[in-house]
């Protein structure tokens, strides 16, 4: 008998004569207290994100590239990791090409092993899309893809995330349900709620522990 067989046999033996507990899932408890009027939804998301040092800006589909450029310029950042294979990456590239900004765009188009050193030490900022947001907790939903891999939203000190206002849901239950998560999960799914932080030294909150030191969320009101 393997360890698995022995463990399962012990557990089964302990359940003899018992009946499984019924599934009386109370979705109302996870949704009713966390509902927001259409006008308040984005405000709630912003206030939750800002409470944990996330920066948010309301902008539009047309204007966000300029906002991103300004944010980078304000931080003296001359290089951005962004996918050339996404619609937003192409929009940004076009905007950069048309502007006088000397921003260098860099793609994550090889396996991480091939450029770890550069990713970790010479990539000051990244920009990715999101799959939506959650108002109740001020969270972004990311399902990393081959175009926007997992480390894009983790390693660079500044992460700029694009969020379509129409894709912000009230709570996690609603979002999971609407996006059919249970029918197929990706390799990695993430909820991101602010920049990386820790309170491990005498309960004093410090930002920029191991992940991004700053998170800037550009909210596209007309998308």
């Amino acid at each position: 008998m393997s360890a698995k067989d022995r463990i399962l046999a012990k557990l089964r033996g302990s359940l003899v004569g018992t009946t499984p507990v019924a599934d009386d899932y109370d979705a109302g408890l996870l949704t009713e207290p966390w509902r927001y009027a259409a006008d308040d939804r984005i405000a709630r998301l912003r206030s939750m994100l800002e409470a944990v040092h996330g920066e948010t800006q309301l902008t539009t589909q047309a204007d966000w590239p300029q906002r991103a450029l300004e944010a980078l310029a304000a931080r003296n950042i001359g290089e951005l990791l962004v996918s050339p294979d996404t619609a937003h990456g192409q929009q940004l590239a076009a905007h950069v090409a048309a502007s006088a900004a000397g921003l260098r765009l860099k793609a994550y188009h090889q396996p991480v092993e091939a450029w770890k050193e550069e990713l970790f030490f010479r990539t000051p900022a990244s920009l990715t899309g999101t799959l939506g947001g959650i108002a109740a907790t001020g969270s972004l939903v990311l399902w990393p893809t081959p175009q926007e891999p997992r480390l894009m939203s983790l390693v660079p000190p500044l992460h700029i995330a694009l969020l379509k206002a129409s894709e912000v849901r009230d709570n996690l239950y609603e979002l999971m349900h609407a996006q059919h998560w249970a029918s197929g999960m990706p390799t990695n799914a993430l909820l991101v709620s602010g920049p990386s932080k820790t309170a491990d030294i005498q309960q004093t909150l410090a930002y920029g522990a191991h992940g991004p030191k700053e998170l800037l969320v550009l909210i596209l009101e007309d998308a």
Binding site: R12, R150, T187, L190, L191
Partner: protein, 479 residues
């Protein structure tokens, strides 16, 4: 089960540890401050008492449902993770779990392991085990990193370095990392970040724990704030997750109430910075993530707790630490005094299953039974009732009932059992009781002034001249 030998168990020196901790004013200040902070943070997260109570009941039902079909869910988890490309391993003991991890390490000729936070790996003493075999294990959670630099163990399951203040961390970094002394917490964290950053991509293997394992989708869910958990599970070519067999939940949606209860109860956060859901290794077209993902499912005494309907509730635990934050004993003596990986109230009910009631015989009695732990537990584990039950198991007469708990009866004393028997007789027989109280009051002068441990810190009781019963009867004119 090589750990179950006939060598007499050496009990943890809890009383000595507790005395030492109580005599350390710095430690007591650090814990008092930290516990007040965490209790306040939790309170703010639950402004609506009704919502809290309904959510606790919900969390309890979700955990109870998972445990009520545990073998089936574990098999489903195994099947779904395997389908997703994750290799699932099962271990009955920590020795087996360590051997599994070491085999993976050897297959990859790995020299360096980076760890996210994992209490199960502490339970396994994985760092020590791999260290003895020439493999470096580096902790990457800031608190764990600090504790490892001090060659200590975590003193809290959520905030491992909670026993230290900023000055102590500043001195540690100055001594061990050869940096300028600074008490600026931002600067200290940046020093930690810089020190650990290179280690993330130099590591051959990343190790993490698991907060919830979802049977339905084959998903491992991890919560964290720092990003070290995501680093450890994404950057190294191999990821090994280690967890207890009780961590499984049935459906993906089951994590929603548990997640809310966990982060709000633990650190008073609506949600942690990262909720990291891993369902497989890197796919052919993906550019990062580990090539291999392993899950080690560890029993280590959990199936013993599972065997008893009442004790099974121990396994509801979602490791939030709220019970320790609210415990008057933990707050005064800190985490190290328990001498176990899991300190505080939850440690007192879970550790006897891992180490045996003989080794842990003082833990179930290290409680004032104030009930705070049971009141705050987000999944409604009746911790005080379970402490009482373990006290009973510890003094149960040998073979009075078939042994199912390791170390059961280790505190049994024939003399004490007889005394209690006599006490019961005395209190259930009116004639005997009257004779006893008559003798006790009339012969009170014979009361010795030294009655063992009682009079070490108190004066001896002085029986009154007449018993309460007598006075009451006289008052009612029944004499």
């Amino acid at each position: 089960m090589s750990a179950m030998t006939d060598v007499p168990a050496v009990p943890i020196a809890f009383k000595r540890n507790a005395r030492e901790a109580l005599a350390d004013p710095q430690l007591r200040r650090n814990f008092r401050g930290a516990m007040d902070f965490l209790m306040d943070k939790r309170r703010v997260q639950f402004p609506d008492g009704d919502e809290l109570e309904r959510l606790r009941a919900f969390g309890n039902r979700v955990r109870a449902r998972a445990l009520s079909k545990l073998p089936e869910l574990l098999e489903r988890l195994d099947a779904n993770l395997s389908r997703n490309g994750v290799k699932v391993h099962w271990a009955e003991t920590v020795e087996e779990a360590n051997a599994i991890v070491h085999r993976i390490v050897e297959q990859h000729a790995a020299k360096k392991v980076i760890k996210g936070k994992s209490m199960v790996s502490e339970e396994m003493e994985m760092n020590h085990y791999l260290g003895e075999r020439g493999v470096d294990c580096l902790e990457s959670d800031m608190g764990e990193f600090i504790v490892q630099l001090r060659e200590e163990k975590p003193s809290h399951i959520i905030m491992p370095a909670i026993h230290l203040n900023v000055g102590q961390v500043a001195s540690l970094f100055h001594d061990k990392l050869e940096v300028d002394y600074t008490e600026d917490v931002d600067r200290l964290i940046q020093i930690g970040r810089e020190t650990l950053r290179r280690n993330f991509f130099e590591a051959d293997i990343g190790v993490s724990g698991v907060n919830f394992a979802v049977a339905e989708t084959g998903t491992l869910l991890l919560v964290e704030n720092e990003g070290n958990g995501r680093m450890s599970t994404t950057v190294p070519p191999v990821h090994i997750a280690v967890t207890g067999i009780e961590k499984v939940v049935e459906n993906l949606r089951d994590v929603i109430p548990l997640l809310s209860l966990l982060t709000r109860s633990a650190t008073g956060q609506a949600i942690t910075t990262y909720v990291n859901m891993i369902s497989g290794p890197r796919k052919a077209d993906e550019l990062d993530g580990p090539q291999e993902v392993h899950l080690v499912l560890l029993d280590n005494g959990r199936s013993q707790a599972f065997a008893d309907g009442e004790l099974r509730q121990t396994l509801n635990c979602i490791r939030c630490g709220a019970c320790m934050n609210h415990c008057p004993v933990y707050t005064r003596i800190g985490g190290h005094a328990y001498g176990t990986v899991y300190p505080g109230p939850i440690g007192k009910i879970v550790t006897p299953h891992m180490l045996g009631l003989d080794t842990t015989r003082d833990l179930p009695t290290a409680s004032s039974m104030c009930g705070a732990c049971g009141e705050v537990c987000p999944v409604k584990i009746p911790i005080p009732a379970l402490l009482r039950r373990l006290r009973e198991e510890a003094v149960r007469a040998p073979e009075a009932v078939p042994h199912h708990m390791r170390g059961q009866g280790s505190k049994y004393s024939k003399k004490e059992a007889m005394l209690w028997k006599a006490w019961r007789k005395l209190n259930t027989s009116p004639a005997l009781y009257r004779a006893f109280s008559f003798a006790g009051t009339r012969l009170s002068a014979l009361m010795p002034s030294n009655i063992g441990p009682w009079t070490e810190h108190r004066s001896a009781p002085k029986p009154a001249a007449r018993s309460l019963h007598e006075l009451a009867r006289e008052h009612l004119g029944e004499d």
